[in-house]
Symmetry: C2
Subunit: 188 residues, 2 copies
């Protein structure tokens, strides 16, 4: 199973701050950072305006970096209800942007990401930042936390993708697109 060259866009969804990242799978477990950033939308603007801005930004990233796959954090009913719903609205908009470009989308829970990156599903922010900095060979820790989370999601998918391809998506849940392996393993 050769996924070398696969480009993964990792997204930590959020209405106020949305972490975006792109990484590229190297040889074996090696992963190269391509880009990372955070899109912010002002809280004094309407939901309509904010979703539009996020959509435009996500589409620009997808068009600029042409990821083979998008990995997004799965939203849970944790925390304040309105925040959870807003984040779920954002996920809808991000999934749509990928769908319009025929890019498969995979979703991972925070604990799946933590387990993949640090070996511990309950790792704290500091451990996660330390690990992602080391894995990607960065000279300094990515900031803010949303940027680090976006990179962790992308790396999580890179490392889980070989198993996903082997399983042919069985038991993957709503994150798996039928055309989910399209482009994976493609060389650039």
């Amino acid at each position: 199973m050769n996924l070398e060259g696969m480009r993964v866009m990792g997204i930590d969804p959020g209405l106020t701050r949305c972490g975006l990242s792109v990484v590229q799978a190297g040889r074996g477990r090696a992963i190269l950072p391509v880009s990372v950033g955070v899109v912010r939308t002002p809280s004094d603007k309407d939901l309509t305006e904010r979703l539009l801005r996020l959509s435009v930004a996500a589409k620009e990233w997808m068009d600029d970096y042409s990821p083979d796959v998008v990995a997004i954090e799965r939203v849970f009913e944790r925390g304040q209800v309105s925040t959870v719903m807003q984040t779920a609205h954002v996920v809808g908009v991000l999934v749509l942007a990928a769908a319009e470009r025929d890019i498969p989308v995979y979703m991972y829970t925070p604990s799946e990401v933590k387990k993949a990156i640090s070996g511990n599903g309950r790792a704290d922010k500091k451990q996660m930042t330390t690990m992602i900095t080391r894995i990607l060979g960065l000279t300094e820790p990515p900031k803010p936390a949303d940027a680090a989370d976006a990179l962790s999601l992308a790396v999580c998918h890179c490392w889980r993708a070989p198993a996903i391809v082997r399983m042919d998506h069985t038991g993957l849940g709503l994150g798996a697109k039928t055309s989910g392996v399209r482009g994976q393993g493609k060389k650039r």
Copy 2:
């Protein structure tokens, strides 16, 4: 306050069945039905494919009927978690479609809609269907329930819009767009 001629698109959001409707405000409290329908997406397809289909359908409706306002049911954390999240993803996609066309979006809770239509925030499906059939002067009750709900949302906005315009959106919550009164009261 003259809102005669205002076109409202009412949406009962859902991934499996999404109710879409358009009504037009007449004189006083009179409301004319313009169109109603339900978009379905197959449950054996991926979330990406389903959101894409819903987005395309909603955009077609918006482009065909040019509503001045979109009224969507506000999602609550009730029922099965995965269904609630899916519905929230759908709402994100619908709000984006409106935002891309600069159409203001308003959200109403089920009890706000029930209160507006029947005078009772706890009215059952049957009461609601009877009322909406009578209000719109339909020869038979709209079916399925999602279609009736979509019409109720549109009528709810028509009747609440004069108060909203008077309040200049104060206290409206996330449904209110800053440009929320654009086009309202416009004659066609």
